[in-house]
């Protein structure tokens, strides 16, 4: 039973990170109807920003860690908005295929430029938050794991607040339902889309820091696998649906952890993809999503 609970905890903390990245995917898809392949690499950049920022603050202090988190989130938000402006906006009216390929191009560009600048060898992420482990019952909890779960939950709540209670959030929802009508209503689509990208990228940046906290070895290609899995999580929960992305992330993280702890551990990567395929075949709307019909 102990082992089960411990694995559950491991799974939730991994799932929380997937959830954070999935949120970015789901928001961009909701507003622009395309998969931002480069999102996972913004996540990676977040970790590297944290790596360099972490040198500027004293190690192991709470305020230092929070400062690094904020710097990374802001940095990633700016990067996301820049990418949108330079690479996606010119293709706003192009076929989806072209934008998709451009997104892949941006993703590869970030990864390989990262390799040129940072080198492909993994680096050690500094311990920016005070780390302690303590035992509860038979379970071992580390403050990093708890931190991940708490911060992710807070960010999801904050996101829900922004989307449902603020003006810009309403604008986001309007654009995702019908961009032309929203424009007619006076919404500046460009601003809303930039904001969406910025917000999603900030979450990816936060995800990058939290991931690096728990797995302190970072390298320019670190975003590929988590990105694919987070995307699966977003689809699992229903793409375009924010609580769905969070739920999907937690579920996927937990399932993957249990598989990794069993004797089928070498198949764990395939699990994410198998789930993806099954969902897309049998319930493409995901767990919490709604199916939209294609109008001719």
């Amino acid at each position: 039973m102990n082992e089960f609970l411990q694995q559950l905890l491991n799974g939730l903390s991994l799932g929380a990170i997937y959830a954070l990245i999935a949120l970015g995917y789901t928001m961009v898809y909701g507003v622009l109807r395309f998969i931002n392949f480069a999102h996972a690499d913004v996540f990676m950049v977040g970790s590297f920003i944290g790596y360099y920022a972490g040198r500027l603050v004293p190690e192991g202090t709470l305020w230092g860690g929070l400062a690094v988190l904020c710097i990374a989130m802001i940095g990633c938000a700016l990067l996301g908005m820049l990418i949108e402006r330079l690479a996606y906006r010119p293709l706003r009216n192009a076929p989806t295929l072209n934008v998709l390929i451009t997104a892949i191009g941006v993703s590869l560009l970030l990864e390989y430029t990262g390799q040129v600048f940072f080198g492909a060898a993994p680096r050690t992420f500094p311990a920016i938050f005070p780390m302690q482990t303590f035992t509860v019952g038979g379970l071992i909890l580390s403050t990093n794991q708890i931190f991940v779960i708490v911060v992710s939950a807070l960010l999801v709540v904050a996101l829900q607040f922004i989307v449902h209670r603020t003006k810009i959030g309403t604008a986001m929802r309007a654009v995702s339902l019908n961009p032309k009508a929203a424009a007619l209503m006076g919404v500046n689509n460009n601003v809303v889309i930039s904001f969406t990208f910025g917000l999603g990228s900030a979450l990816a940046g936060a995800g990058g820091i939290l991931y690096a906290l728990n797995y302190p070895s970072i390298d320019p290609l670190m975003g590929v696998m988590p990105g694919l899995k987070a995307f699966t999580a977003a689809i699992l929960g229903g793409i375009g649906n924010i609580p769905g992305a969070a739920l999907g992330g937690l579920l996927l993280g937990t399932v993957e952890t249990f598989v990794a702890g069993s004797e089928w551990s070498t198949y764990k990567d395939a699990i994410a993809f198998t789930i993806l395929i099954i969902i897309l075949l049998f319930r493409p709307a995901g767990l919490l999503g709604r199916l939209t019909t294609e109008k001719v």
Partner: protein, 329 residues
């Protein structure tokens, strides 16, 4: 405004003659192979394999309009099966000192079996992907590609994660050029046949095609299956060329490399895709001194291309070069 991805109806002049000419060229090359610098020959072989891969993906993406990011998975099925046949069945069927003809026939058989296995995998991927479009299709094909990789990583008899070693070196420049010619010929004739118009219709507007009675389902599956078959052939050739194959060599990155070739050449543009495949094989070798920057340049090129010239680098009307004709658009 025409969609940038409308395939130009490039017609290779007199396809049957071209095929024969290509086969003669293959013979010529193979007899001269002793005198050509082996490194150069290597690059040429790699280029030929890349051409087969790119043309097969062109059928799926360019002509049938199905965005496939798992093509390397089909390649790996062909590679592993044909290599497995060569290693396990080879010693039984080929007595030592068999004539070159027997060995050649055996290799041909192994390749075809590999291709058929890949085609079967293409069927398995094609059927579920029917209902999906665009991004979702891309993800599912990517997912299948990764699942295939994980399966091979866990298959001990085929080397598992360590890869399969000791594959006999059957691939020669003759085989590569011959198969490239066959691939181009088959797919080209397929597209330009009456049946083949269905692919283009499916691509251009699926709902309209369904409305006029075309079985778009069948076309899509056919595209996947044939594309996968040739990818499997390319995989078999690759395996018997590199002599060692590993599951990680057929991952998402490899699929993307093939996609870049098709995009660069212009989706649906046969000649363009051939040129792009050759260019993208030679370029890494020429750029070996700055290998680090190679992928940076690739990805940058991809973005710029998509924004400024989405129809590809080599999309020009081939027939225009031969005789003045009004280009169809």
């Amino acid at each position: 405004m025409a969609s940038p991805t409308t395939p130009k109806r490039n017609v290779i002049p007199r396809p049957h003659l071209s095929l024969v000419a290509a086969l003669i060229l293959a013979f010529v090359f193979s007899s001269l192979s002793g005198t050509i610098d082996p490194y150069f020959l290597d690059v040429l072989t790699s280029a030929g394999i890349a051409v087969i891969l790119a043309i097969s993906l062109n059928l799926v993406m360019g002509f049938a309009g199905q965005f496939s990011l798992g093509h390397a998975g089909f390649m790996s099925v062909g590679a592993y099966l044909s290599a497995g046949i060569s290693i396990y069945l080879g010693p039984h069927i080929l007595a030592s000192g068999s004539s070159a003809f027997v060995q050649g026939a055996f290799f041909f058989g192994a390749l075809v079996l590999g291709g058929l296995a890949a085609a079967f995998a293409g069927l398995l991927v094609g059927v579920p992907s029917l209902r999906l479009k665009g991004d979702y299709l891309a993800l599912v094909t990517l997912g299948f590609g990764e699942i295939i990789r994980v399966i091979f990583q866990n298959l001990e008899p085929l080397g598992g994660a360590l890869g399969l070693n000791g594959i006999p070196p059957y691939t020669t420049i003759f085989w590569v050029i011959a198969w490239a010619a066959i691939t181009i010929f088959v797919i080209h004739c397929l597209i330009h046949s009456t049946y083949g118009r269905g692919f283009l219709a499916t691509h251009d507007d699926e709902i309209a095609a369904e409305a006029i009675g075309l079985n778009t389902t069948r076309y899509k599956i056919t595209a996947f299956v044939i594309g996968a078959f040739f990818a499997g052939i390319a995989g078999g050739l690759y395996g018997h060329f590199k002599l060692t194959i590993m599951p990680t060599g057929f991952d998402f990155t490899k699929s993307i490399e093939i996609v870049v070739m098709v995009i660069l050449g212009g989706m649906g543009n046969t000649v363009g895709v051939i040129l792009a495949a050759i260019l993208l094989t030679i370029l890494p070798e020429v750029l070996r001194p700055i290998a680090e920057y190679r992928m940076v340049i690739y990805s940058f090129l991809l973005i710029v291309l998509m924004i400024s010239r989405p129809q590809g680098l080599f999309n020009f009307s081939f027939s225009r070069l031969l005789k003045p004709r009004r280009s169809q658009n």
